[in-house]
């Protein structure tokens, strides 16, 4: 039960933050639209829509992964507790074993999709930013040549640079995408270990061979390390700030930034 709670908790802040980043970017796009020509806002608006879309997709996908993990853990707990498999548990074990390769393929496909989509959106925004900088410089030069002045609050090289910094700062939040990606990698590793363990158990049960298990079980250090990796530091801190429960925090309480 404790494991399931951690997995649920681990998923929540990540997609909440992804959604938050998408919304912030959308708001920024609308704010920019008030000061800039309509066509120049298109890349930001497109990026915002893509990020919001990714966030929603992430919510649905993470829930789906968690359901599979809970089912897998439930199955494993049943036969660890009972120490013997009745027909129903054996059937569940077989279904679980059979679903792992497919589940891993699904995870890898989604992982590739998340990577490609986020990369495409952020690269598009960055490249448009540079194009826009040139465009602003050219407009200002032409206006200067015609001895025309526009209020710097509306358009100036400085205000553009300031805006560019703000956008890049928002884009740096794609670091959360990196966290999600690594969480999926951890899930894939965990499932592979589950499958290896379950295969061995099934083999021993089928052959009535009393040989001890060689694969680490789900209470082992390997699995513990995987569980710890699944819930990233950023999410532990969010959990701690919201609940005051420090059990998930790094025991040494080390800061996020540490110079040795």
């Amino acid at each position: 039960m404790e494991i399931q709670k951690k997995l649920h908790f681990g998923a929540l802040p990540s997609y909440t933050i992804s959604l938050g980043v998408g919304i912030v970017l959308s708001v920024l796009a609308f704010k920019l639209a008030q000061n800039l020509p309509e066509n120049s806002i298109l890349p930001y608006a497109t990026g915002a829509i893509v990020l919001v879309g990714l966030a929603v997709y992430h919510i649905l996908f993470t829930r789906s992964i968690n359901r599979h993990i809970e089912e897998a853990i439930k199955t494993q707990q049943i036969w660890v507790k009972s120490r013997q498999l009745n027909d129903e548990n054996y059937r569940r074990l077989q279904v679980f074993l059979g679903s792992i390769p497919e589940l891993n393929k699904l995870l890898e496909a989604h992982l590739a999709f998340i990577n490609e989509s986020t990369e495409k959106a952020s690269l598009a925004i960055i490249s448009k930013l540079f194009l826009m900088e040139e465009w602003v410089a050219q407009i200002l030069k032409e206006l200067d040549g015609q001895k025309l002045q526009i209020p710097s609050a509306i358009l100036s090289q400085e205000s553009f640079i300031e805006m560019r910094h703000a956008i890049i700062d928002i884009l740096s939040h794609t670091q959360f995408q990196d966290i999600s990606r690594q969480q999926i990698e951890v899930v894939t590793k965990g499932l592979a270990l589950c499958a290896q363990y379950s295969d061995e158990v099934a083999h021993i049960l089928d052959s009535n061979n009393p040989e001890p298990l060689t694969t680490p079980n789900l209470q082992s250090e390997s699995m513990k390390a995987l569980r710890e990796s699944y819930t990233m530091e950023a999410q532990r801190i969010v959990h701690f700030n919201a609940t005051g429960d420090d059990s998930a925090l790094d025991v040494a309480g080390r800061p996020a930034i540490e110079l040795f």
């Binding site: 990577n115 986020t118 990369e119 952020s122 690269l123 960055i126 930013l129 560019r164 910094h165 890049i168 700062d169 884009l171 740096s172 939040h173 794609t174 670091q175 959360f176 995408q177 990196d178 966290i179 990606r181 690594q182 990698e185 390390a225 710890e228 990796s229 990233m232 530091e233 950023a234 532990r236 790094d250 025991v251 040494a252 080390r254 996020a256 930034i257 540490e258 110079l259 040795f260």
Partner: protein, 125 residues
């Protein structure tokens, strides 16, 4: 003269946003997608960085293995190397410290904070 930073991360998105962010703050930046790529580019010597920033979890060669390899080369023995990662376990941090990392930064970190740390590690940057 602007300081040179070498970024190592297997996420193209991370590399592109970090690179843009650092370039806008006046740094010269080159990148590599994993430890093997980094080692090969750094050994070739076309880009001589003042600082290396590396992720930990990467395919082919991870960040800790990269540091171990770099510290065995005279040219990189004393070069500052920051680890920038989602990994936050104490054991991993201790391993990084033991291998000669200069510092450990847990993602996510905002661009201004990262630039502040770089300036602390590279006085005069």
């Amino acid at each position: 003269m602007s300081k040179k930073i070498f970024l190592v991360d297997d996420s193209a998105t991370m590399l592109s946003t970090l690179k843009t962010s650092l370039m806008m703050n006046g740094f010269e930046v080159d990148t590599a997608c994993d430890g093997v790529d980094a080692l090969s580019k750094l050994k070739a010597g076309a880009f001589k960085p003042d600082l290396i920033i590396t992720d930990v979890n990467m395919p082919n060669m991870d960040g800790l293995e990269l540091i171990k390899n770099l510290r065995s080369l005279p040219a990189f023995r004393f070069m500052p190397i920051l680890i920038f990662t989602t990994e936050s376990q104490s054991a991993k941090r201790e391993e990084g410290k033991k291998l000669g990392a200069t510092g450990w930064l847990v993602k996510p970190t905002s661009a201004p904070t990262l630039v502040g740390i770089i300036k602390e590690v590279l006085p005069g940057a």
